[in-house]
């Protein structure tokens, strides 16, 4: 009984080994293999899923227009389910088995930071789609990112508060990586804008009721506004609880909820909420002379036609990452990861959905505050906020 099974097993491993040995190098010789690890499922799926769709959509599009350097782009995507450990395993697989020449992915800060050392060691460029500033500060030679940082979001919010004459604020932050990181960044830059943080509360990413924390904030005297760094369903529940408690001071959300599903989940409670976000969300409302207008309107139309879902900034980050990479590959004229890295760093004047990108050896993001627009939710839709004087 035992011998045949073992024999079959040996045959199978042998065949697998041969298959690996033959497909590996031949594929990379003819095609440009780009890797991606995304959180297409799990708690960050509302970020990862549009990213996944965007990458597939535009890689197909680029290939149908002749690819890059006369070669086809092959996209290898793994789903980490939001788990940094899985992300790390998949990153290793991309490097060691798939032999990718570059990577666009890493949906969350947690998964990105888990994967960064692997791409650093392998000297393969890695364009992350996650928010936190820790990804690019301090600069890692091979790691780049496309979304605005949470520090920029804090600065944008505080600038808006300052313009409205509001300086005493409360904070209610998620305890997940995004919420924590943004919370810390906000504390760091609060002084620059003359902000005083009178209440500083937090909630778990899966909490279903946040009224106790908000009650504490409500009962703190002199609070003029509340800032909620967080992503996922948490901010939607914060917003609902905020209105339930009848808190009347302005509520600021972060760019982490810049997706239609937030308005949908929070319902009428979201009216009047302000948040910093990319131009993409208000593509139709941008003035015609806005340099980003053509890019964002085109991406929005393409994405919405193909997926029949409303566009989100997260898919836009993937769009920016993919095109920064493809442009760099074209400029490098080679599939050598080191040359591609050098070209990514030289990206200048790239107009993406997130803003105008000017990278440098000390800035692996290349965006400034003007890339953020302050939005206000009006009648269940985004609108450009008019700052009161």
């Amino acid at each position: 009984m035992k011998t045949p099974t073992r024999f079959v097993f040996l045959l199978a491993t042998g065949a697998a080994a041969v298959a690996l040995a033959t497909t590996g190098p031949s594929a990379s010789a003819q095609d440009l293999k780009i890797g991606s690890v995304l959180s297409a499922t799990g708690p960050a799926s509302f970020l990862g899923s549009p990213e996944d769709k965007t990458l597939h959509l535009y890689v197909d599009k680029i290939n149908s227009e002749g690819g890059a350097l006369g070669k086809k782009i092959v996209l290898v995507v793994y789903d980490d389910g939001g788990d940094p450990n899985k992300a790390r395993t998949f990153a290793t697989r991309l490097v060691e088995e798939d032999h990718v020449i570059a990577m666009v992915g890493g949906t969350t800060t947690g998964t990105t930071l888990a994967m960064a050392p692997i791409f650093e060691d392998a000297q393969i460029p890695f364009i992350s789609l996650a928010g936190a500033i820790e990804i690019i500060d301090p600069v890692r030679k091979y790691v780049f990112k496309t979304p605005h940082t949470d520090r920029m979001a804090c600065q944008k919010i505080f600038a808006d508060l300052k313009a409205r004459g509001l300086t005493k604020i409360g904070m209610i932050s998620g305890t997940d990586a995004f919420g924590k990181s943004m919370h810390d960044q906000c504390l760091k830059v609060a002084g620059d804008y003359g902000m005083t943080i009178l209440a500083d509360e937090s909630y778990g990413a899966q909490d279903s009721d946040i009224t106790p924390q908000l009650t504490k904030i409500k009962n703190t005297p002199d609070i003029q506004a509340v800032v909620n760094p967080g992503f996922g369903q948490g901010p939607a529940i914060v917003t609902r609880n905020y209105r339930q408690l009848g808190i009347t001071v302005p509520l600021y959300e972060s760019h982490g909820v810049a997706s239609k599903s937030y308005i949908d989940l929070a319902g009428p409670a979201a009216e009047g909420v302000r948040l910093p976000a990319a131009a993409l969300l208000v593509a139709d409302k941008l003035p015609d002379n806005d340099p980003q207008k053509i890019v964002v309107v085109d991406y929005k139309r393409t994405y919405e036609t193909a997926t029949r879902e409303p566009v989100s900034t997260f898919g836009g980050h993937a769009y920016d990452g993919l095109f920064i990479l493809v442009d760099a590959i074209k400029r490098a004229g080679s599939a050598d990861p080191k040359k591609i890295r050098d070209e990514i760093e030289k990206t200048k004047g790239f107009i993406g959905t997130g803003g105008i990108v000017n990278m440098s050896p000390t800035d692996h993001l290349g965006l400034n505050l003007s890339a953020f627009r302050m939005l206000e939710i009006k009648n269940g839709d985004w609108d450009l906020a008019q700052t009161a004087h």
Binding site: S45, F46, S202, Q233
Partner: protein, 290 residues
């Protein structure tokens, strides 16, 4: 005072859900000695089926009914396909089977429904009640009332009907129950159906407040299990007490102490209680007769 009331309202609402999950644990545990970690998935199914059907235009009461039936069917299938074939396996094996089943149900739910969060309109509006300075959502009363109704109905069922008494007898001593002519097999089947139904009702009641998605079950199962342990696993009253206590602990912990450590505070209290009363607040004192 207003603050205290607000924390109570929050704690009681969340606690009522924990209590219902813990009740599901208790009923199945009593009848079959299985700690069913797929209990949270019933809550998820209750919410997700209702959301999906009502989005497709089915009236809310009908969608809710269908969700309960769906959860019952899944409960029965879980028993027939996963637990029954492993009859006689050790408790640890059975726990692993239920954890596997919960992962499976979550995976299927992700395909059948989707990966997004969903909301359900509140049954009687979103305008909060104002009580002594605290604001309470009408849906909170639905959750509390629903939980109370389930507890009362279950009590009447266990104490007032032959089948209910048969469940109690099976819980007390399966062998003796079989000897007096109780079909313990169908009692176990019934307990899985009941567990599914209670979980689904909890999911339907709470979704307008907490939102739902395919993966809300995991955390609820953990919290419900902790509540069950706190109250004393095997005691229905203990499950309710444990659930409400856990909800209140979290709310007061977040409100009066520190929101960062609120889960920690709740679990420390549970550890202290369990080290003093290893069988929980109202656990069965098992007596070994020689």
């Amino acid at each position: 005072m207003a603050e205290f009331l607000q924390f109570c309202a929050s704690g009681l609402t969340v606690g009522a859900v924990y209590a219902l999950v813990a009740l599901g644990f208790t009923i199945i545990y009593n009848a079959s000695d299985v700690v069913n970690f797929a209990q949270g998935e019933f809550v998820m199914l209750g919410g997700m089926v209702t959301v999906t059907l009502s989005a497709a235009g089915v009236p809310l009461p009908l969608a809710a009914g269908a969700a309960i039936v769906a959860a019952i069917l899944v409960g029965l299938a879980l028993h027939r396909l996963a637990i029954e074939p492993a009859r006689g396996a050790s408790p640890v094996t059975l726990i692993m089977i239920t954890i596997g089943a919960s992962i499976f149900i979550r995976g299927v739910a992700q395909l059948v429904f989707d990966k997004q969060f969903h909301k359900l309109p509140a049954f009687s509006g979103d305008t909060p009640f104002h009580m002594l300075g605290a604001t309470i959502l009408p849906q909170s009363f639905w959750v509390l009332g629903g939980a109370a109704a389930i507890v009362v109905l279950l009590h009447a069922f266990f104490e007032g009907t032959i089948i209910g008494k048969a469940v109690l007898a099976t819980a007390a001593n399966p062998l003796a129950a079989r000897l007096v002519g109780i079909n313990t097999g169908s009692i176990v089947t019934l307990s899985f159906a009941l567990g599914g139904a209670i979980g689904a009702i909890a999911g339907i009641l709470v979704t307008p407040i907490t939102l739902t998605s395919y993966n809300v079950g995991t955390l609820l199962a953990l919290k419900g299990f902790a509540a069950g342990m706190l109250g004393g696993i095997g005691s229905p009253l203990g499950a309710v007490l444990g659930g409400v206590a856990l909800g209140l602990l979290e709310a007061f912990g977040a409100g009066y102490l520190s929101s960062t450590y609120k889960d920690g505070i709740a679990f420390i209290v549970i550890l202290v209680v369990l080290s003093a009363l290893p069988r929980g607040l109202l656990g069965r004192r098992s007596v070994e007769r020689v």
